[in-house]
Symmetry: C2
Subunit: 341 residues, 2 copies
DNA sequence: TCCGTGTATTTGATCGTTCAAACGGATGCT
DNA sequence: AGCATCCGTTTGAACGATCAAATACACGGA
């Protein structure tokens, strides 16, 4: 008998039936304390663990959430996804949920994979990252009534009001306000924003944070601000060149805030150690070179994602402004002492 | 009827029984081609997918492998684990396996988690990373007869001969030989090795690669080599300081090979652009700053791990030298043009 | 005494699949 | 004809759990 014990075995030892054992596990409150104690002792004695697949078959739920491994794993910011995954797995575990991975080459392929996992009843909810304008994935998921939460706002307006779409995001605008305010407070007045070209949901949001703070506190004119605002593709080389161009154009500046650590690193490699630079994402590289950076509280994001996943789908308030379906968490600024530049 | 179709439904449509449908899926060769075609058509028509949990319950196997998310996710080299995970998930998928994550705070906790997942029949094999001297995890797994494969050799001698222990690793020694040989060929004779303190399985192996090549081709004496060999904790600051100390000690050198990109980055920040530096792991940072680096073929590692997992445990050859239980894959050198230093 | 009420526990059925054994029909051999 | 053999397919049972309904028992009021 090297088989694993079942509810029946536990029941036999405790002198009760299958179902009572099941009840001790799933709704302890209906079992008389005395009986419960006996069953719990038997469980401990036999080292019993419920068979996950059997439970899933019967309850028709897998208690497993699926997430695609980000293919953009090569960038410097890949660590964000990695850290998020870590936080998610940890919090999920505490809630009795498991995390299952999959990969996909593009959004269409991702939809195909999601379908597969969902139809095999392997996974009952999905977490989506890297949301984009008019994301085909969210649309498909809503249509097929598959529970999901995105890390990242749906930047298209339609999705925003869709009551089926739950999301958690980091308030990048506030992040850049913090960074910019920090530099202004240190006496740097001409703060450059080095970000991505518009339109970009995330990018535009971050730029707005810089812009708000500058308009509010720097005393610079709109025209001045326009000249301090850069939009290039993400990347170290791109960031470097953008700043080089700025310098060659003869535009003076005191500091730089960036939409990513990649851009920040590029900027850092060009300007001297006297020009402060602040990045975004607080990646290992930022730590390594002593770059100040805006950190996303991925623990909070993960916790929020799970809360929303567990929330029943048919919530009462059909109000679109009801933010019980959304979480916007605040990032914080990590100030560092430069080691490079 | 919004329920998902079952084998019974498919059978009904195709005019056959449950079991025949099951056979088409699992052992197509026993079904008459004509019937098979009919069943396959029905499957396609209904969009049928086998219910994973039901199958697992019956077959008593989960087709799922568990892997712990590396807690050392903060370092620059975190991307290695990330990329490995990606490769593993992708290859696993192609083989019909799923990858499930878990986290743990320490080896003891990891053992606890493994136990939980295994006993819940959630996972039937594990992949271990970051193996160390006398790893308690492998010992425990062997004792409990739970299938596993490690990414990384068991550096303790006992484990090495244990026929139950299957592993895949990258030949770091060759990696450093390649890097060193490359520098020597370019005319740099005094090549420094910047690595970790002994004893360290991985570290000592890499150092040996450098040493072998230097003894073979550099023409330097053992004493000279000893002075060019550095061992410090991993980290950018540590690497930087080690090289600073070397310079201050008045020891001349032409180039540096490192045990990690972190150390390499530290070295890079100190020496001028004229001193070549080669890192290890080919992380995003190396790409970003244009650092040459030794790349681990993580695709091959993942493929090897899965092969070994699928291999039946009771293989005939009980020979300890039988390397069908091991895979040692060769890394390759990525040569880059420096952008920083 | 009888019935209703409530609580604690048990029993029967089911989730969707695969294993193991049984079955039916065609074929070949004696 | 009678029988063994083979192939392709079907049937009964099981995997281990939970749901829903049934049961046993204690208590109080009419």
């Amino acid at each position: 008998m090297d088989n694993l014990p079942t509810v029946l075995d536990v029941g036999r030892v405790a002198g009760v039936s299958r179902q009572t054992v099941s009840n001790v596990l799933n709704s302890p409150e209906v079992v008389k304390p005395e009986t419960r104690a006996r069953v719990e002792a038997a469980i401990a004695q036999l080292g019993y663990r419920p068979h996950a697949s059997a439970r899933r078959l019967r309850t028709r739920r897998s208690s497993t959430i699926g997430i695609r491994l980000d293919p953009m794993t090569n960038g410097i910011s890949g660590s964000v996804h990695d850290r998020f995954l870590h936080a998610l797995t940890e919090k999920a575990d505490a809630l009795g949920l498991r995390v299952m991975l999959f990969t996909a080459t593009d959004p269409q392929d991702e939809i195909r994979q999601i379908r597969r996992l969902h139809e095999g009843s392997d996974v009952d909810a999905f977490v989506l990252t890297s949301t984009m304008f008019g994301d085909p994935r969210t649309q498909w998921l809503v249509e097929h009534d598959i529970p999901f939460v995105t890390f990242g706002r749906p930047w298209g307006i339609d999705d925003l009001n869709d009551p089926h779409h739950r999301w958690v995001d980091v308030d990048g605008r506030t992040g850049l306000r913090l960074a910019t305010a920090h530099l202004l407070a240190e006496g740097d007045r001409h703060v450059v924003y080095l970000g991505w070209p518009s339109p970009s949901g995330t990018g535009d949001d971050r730029r707005r944070g810089w812009r708000d703070e500058m308009e509010f506190s720097s005393g610079l004119s709109r025209v001045d601000l326009d000249s301090l605002q850069l939009g290039v593709r993400d990347g170290v080389a791109e960031g470097r060149e953008a700043i080089r161009d700025l310098i060659e154009a003869g535009i003076a500046f005191d500091a730089i805030v960036c939409a990513s650590d990649s851009l920040a690193l590029g900027a850092l490699l060009l300007v001297g150690p006297d020009i402060p630079v602040i990045g975004y994402d607080n990646t290992p590289v930022a730590q390594a070179v002593g770059l100040s950076s805006v950190e996303q509280p991925l623990d909070e994001v993960a916790a929020g994602v799970l809360e929303l996943i567990l929330k029943p789908s048919g919530s009462p308030g059909a109000d679109a402004t009801d933010d019980s379906r959304h979480r916007l968490v605040e990032p914080r600024l990590i100030v560092r002492h430069r080691r490079l530049g």
